[in-house]
Chain length 340, copies 2
């Protein structure tokens, strides 16, 4: 079997995915039993290239490393849709930037691909949060599949765990550390730094944006908990109905007092179920030191799923990173090959 | 599609599996798209019953709860092999007790089923540790499959994580808390108890056997790490070559000194890779408090897998329990239905 891969969005994650394809090609053949070719790469800034017979991946990796663009190759003629169809791809890796309001440009890419029977793996939270039901329906109607492991916790396989590992379990409660930046800041504050100093350090290290509002006011983890509510419970929640409290009011003193009680303060994103339904929230919470999320430090992410059959299951791993998110695309590619 | 299930070994785990089948039958139909019938139950002590059309599961659960045996039903005539073939089963749930030396009686059950094209899910570590290669080969040769999620960490889906979630990752190092009894004893000792008092408490609570050697001298986690080495790296290791040190020499004082250095002592079962190959071990190790395994308390199990693409991935969950291990069989049944 040969899988013809197109990639749209060739930034850090897209480039890491190409590197992984180069590195793992023998394993994909020997262990998972499939060949692939990379027939198209499209990036708003770097250009669009297409080769129905597949690019030389090593040459492509080298060009991306040396020139940081695709000018080494002849540019394809036509718009994204035309080139995608001409490429003969049957699998699209979509890693354009997230827009929670419109889902674009990912939404159009994904819909067009699925409409044409091309399966998709996306790392873009926007289209999944906004329209996963529609996208699944389009996919079903055209013999295609949609995968999105990379939309939550990068390549840490939470969605796979929910689908495969915990098959047969009911999820009764979700509690997670879904934002690495704020967890890094809180970890720094535990070591005695003020909020301001810790934020500055996060910015210097590239964890936090110059405008850190998405993280510290918890918009980012709220978006992730929205995706989880959709994927676990199949419900649509209005973003504004999520109880959302960031870490801007957490002080060094609060953390010290918590520590004296053998507690740690963590920004917890969760879904709580009671007789009134599901409640989505992100807020700083004091956890006992023995809670499995309490010892999760730095930029690491983690999630505790309370289940009917197994009690608490906790998964800890990276929440971001270029290779880590590239792994999510590789995971989805392997799943596509297995179920094709 | 209808799956015809036979069960051999109707102790705590087998009974929990039947309860789960009763509880989840609608979900299995609606969410996973399959019907099942339970056509045979065989237990060395409780008896053997067979009904080609499927038993009334509620009646079966009631009889097991009230009479603790199968005398409510007409006993089947013939030996295990004859009854299994007569039942028309296409899926055998095998949960007889583990014997690491011969693998029996599970080995014979599993081989016979696979030889006759009947897929198997087993919670029995013996046959998997001793002969997984042979069993896979028999399965392949007869259009059957063999599943064994319940052989490590009960229903905590470690094997699924390795197969599906981490597909595409290389496992560079394995470190786990794979024995709940010893982790419970060490947790009690951290709270000030002596080894002897903690062991006695574990025995009173039913965590530890009257003869606790399997646990405290680390034979049990050594057996699990043997299974992991086989499943992750495909290698056969002689049990006696595993470096195995139990917790009998760990003192309250050692734990107190570790605590002063912000360390905790855990019995770690692991696989270490270096230029000389793979090294399997179980031994008490001092972990920094920030290590993801350091905060795993009581009878809970956990494993940290160091990978090339994702760094450290940690999974924490139950390591034993009747419903928890029943869930492993349910997981395998769903996987069988999905891939049938």
């Amino acid at each position: 079997m040969e899988i013809k891969i197109a990639l749209v969005g060739c930034g850090n994650v897209g480039t890491a995915f190409i590197e992984l394809l180069a590195e793992k090609r023998n394993e994909l053949k020997n262990k998972f039993g499939f060949f692939f070719s990379l027939v198209m790469v499209s990036d708003k800034i770097k250009g669009t290239i297409c080769n129905k017979n597949g690019f030389d991946i090593d040459e492509l990796v080298l060009a991306l490393h040396e020139e940081h663009n695709l000018s080494h190759f002849e540019q394809a003629k036509g718009n994204f849709q035309e080139v995608l169809l001409a490429s003969g791809a049957n699998f699209l890796a979509e890693c354009t930037p997230t827009d929670f309001e419109t889902g674009e440009p990912g939404m159009s890419h994904i819909k067009f691909a699925l409409d044409n029977g091309i399966s998709v793996s996306t790392t873009n939270k926007g289209p999944i949060a906004l329209a996963i039901d529609d996208l699944k329906q389009i996919a079903d109607g055209h013999g295609a599949k949609i995968f999105c492991e990379g939309t939550v916790l990068s390549g840490t396989p939470l969605l796979d765990l929910l689908k495969n590992g915990l098959a047969g379990c009911e999820i009764l409660e979700v509690q997670g550390i879904l934002n690495g930046t704020t967890n890094f800041i809180l970890s720094q504050m535990e070591q005695g730094q003020t909020y301001e100093a810790a934020l500055k350090k996060a910015q210097l290290l590239g964890f936090a944006e110059a405008n850190p509002r998405q993280d510290v006011e918890a918009f980012d983890p709220a978006g992730k908990v929205l995706v989880l509510a959709k994927l676990i419970y199949g419900i649509n929640v209005d973003f504004n109905s999520i109880k959302r409290i960031g870490i801007t009011h957490v002080t060094k003193e609060m953390i010290e007092i918590a520590a004296k009680n053998n507690h740690r303060i963590k920004l917890i994103a969760g879904i709580h179920r009671d007789i009134n339904g599901l409640h989505l929230y992100v807020m700083p919470r004091e956890l006992e030191n023995t809670h499995p999320l309490a010892s999760v430090n730095g930029a690491t992410n983690a999630i505790t799923l309370t289940t009917d059959n197994l009690g608490d299951i906790t998964l800890i791993g990276p929440g971001a990173g270029r290779r880590e998110t590239g792994q999510a695309l590789l995971h989805d590619l392997i799943e596509f090959a297995r179920t094709k």
